[in-house]
Amino acid sequence: MAVEFRTPSYFALAALIDGPLHGYGIVRRAGELSGGTVRLSTGTLYALLERAIKEGLVVAGEPYVQGGRERRDYTLTPDGRGALQAESMRLSEAARTVSTRLRATSRAAVA
């Protein structure tokens, strides 16, 4: 499956690799995984979750109340895991290509 993710979607889905999380849990985990570079706002999070559910990458659980707040857990589907894996390979491939070119051209510049 060739799905290209934007950075917030990538880290939001990556937040679910270790198991189901509720909305605020995804916000925190995505922040940790990205080293603080991705700060998902609530509007953005639910827009991308809605889309991911529609595409079958994520499933939403039943709502429950925790600490006075209504929550719902979101789980990565096998399709979602596959899409995430494909995207991470695409990104590492792209990074490897650029790094190789950079190394080659810096050697040439030094010589």
Partner: protein, 286 residues
Amino acid sequence: MSRERIVRFALRSYPQEIRASKGTEMLGTLLDSSGQSNAAFARELVDLARRGLSARATSTAQVGARRLIADGLCWGGIALIAELLCVRVANYITFGQSSAEPGGWVWEIALLAAGLVLALVGYDRIAGICALSFLAVVIGASRQAFDGGSLLLPDLIVGVVCFAPMLIAPRRRTHDMRQLAWLFAIAALGAAFYWPRPIDGLVALYILPLSVALPFALALLPTDPRLAIAWSLVAAFVGMGALAQAVQQGRLTLALPLTVIALTAAPFALAITVTRTRSLTRRDSA
């Protein structure tokens, strides 16, 4: 106002179905995410409203440009019926009783009143029949005065353009008697038209509602163009009337630019509706 209330208000930017299914959950997530920081809360709130409007625009666009245009025309038809009824009632009180055929006025008023009540409740088809019958009665009576001015063919065209969709493509909505509350606002406008002199009432009947509705319609245009379509049709109708009066009074230079603006509003609103609906539908299915 508490943060929770502010968020609930911002959530109103979302379509009803999203609000019902995810509203409370989003509220909790937003309050947790923003923590104690006012800046973070403000940032979250702005983004929530922006995303909500975007979701609303997408949800509106899903019904398709044809349906949106038909709805806009129906709304324009209702506004036009209300406007014609106000003028007819005021003119009947002023001139009708002493005219040669007061019975004709009564028929026209009865058709418009029935059309307005039925349209407000949600019976668009029957309301459309009433409104088109009104036009037929006016043409049949060969009355020179139509909406206080000469009977213009373009006026008639705007009328048919608004009323025919009520019959052919009525709005898909449930019947709701509560909508009859709009009759109070319409009655207030009618009274303003009649009192103290009909000419002063023109300000109340045309300029005030149109100028209040214009900013609202423009603000809603990206998310829901139906009000803008309705507004533009009423503006076209008023523009025609203004042009007719200007021709009679020999003040064409003043009226012409305003009429041109009024007449270009409808194609503009329709073009925006079609292009925006297409782009949103494409984006959603991409």
